[in-house]
Amino acid sequence: MEGSNSEEIVQENTKIFTIKTQVGKEQNTADLINSRAGKSKIKIPSILVTPELRGYIFLESYDKERIRDMIKTVSYARNMLEGDIPIDQIQHFLIPASAVAKITEGDVVEMIAGPFRGETAKVTHIDDTKEEITVELFESVVPIPITVRGEQVRVIKRKDEEKNKSEEEKRD
């Protein structure tokens, strides 16, 4: 493995790195890394500050060495821990936002719990007050509407996906 290959790595799974920060400056560090990521070409899909863990923040990225170099120049960032951590280890911090508010009619979802787990379905109706959604499974012979709780599904394709993309491009 030589360092001569400078090809940009795209569409690889992210890794989660742990950054040691000055205690009490976790959020400032996250903001500084955020603005740095905006100015540089380093891809950092997310930065996470948990109230339980003082003096540490997490960030999601691809290339450990680039992150290590970057944080050297970020105030309040001390260093980076060796190795990355699996998402499972921080999953308990990540309380999903109200599921129903994020789902719209026409979205394609994957069932992540219950008897239809693993199957894909299309959202046909949303009940915000009960946090329930009605879906039709793609694989069923007869499209029977079934009602599930919002947290039992995960959006895999949004109806307005194309629109969101063009909005993002405009912002850059």
Binding site: T14, S46, I95
Partner: protein
């Protein structure tokens, strides 16, 4: 200094009483801090059900 609030529903941080994302009420009691830059490529965004870039709270009371 303005108080930062978090949407009780989607957790987005805002200075407004009403969330700019979902028009639902916000709260000034929240904890944790997440910056989502690229939701499509983020495992954290997926775990939290976040689909739009922005700053979010982990927990809203």
């Amino acid at each position: 200094m303005k108080i930062v609030r978090a949407c009780k529903t989607c957790h987005k941080l805002t200075e407004s009483d009403v969330c700019p994302n979902c028009s639902l009420p916000t709260s000034k009691r929240w904890r944790g801090y997440v910056i989502i830059r690229n939701p499509e490529n983020s495992q954290v965004a997926k775990a939290m059900n976040i689909t739009k870039p922005g700053k979010y709270a982990l927990k809203v009371m």
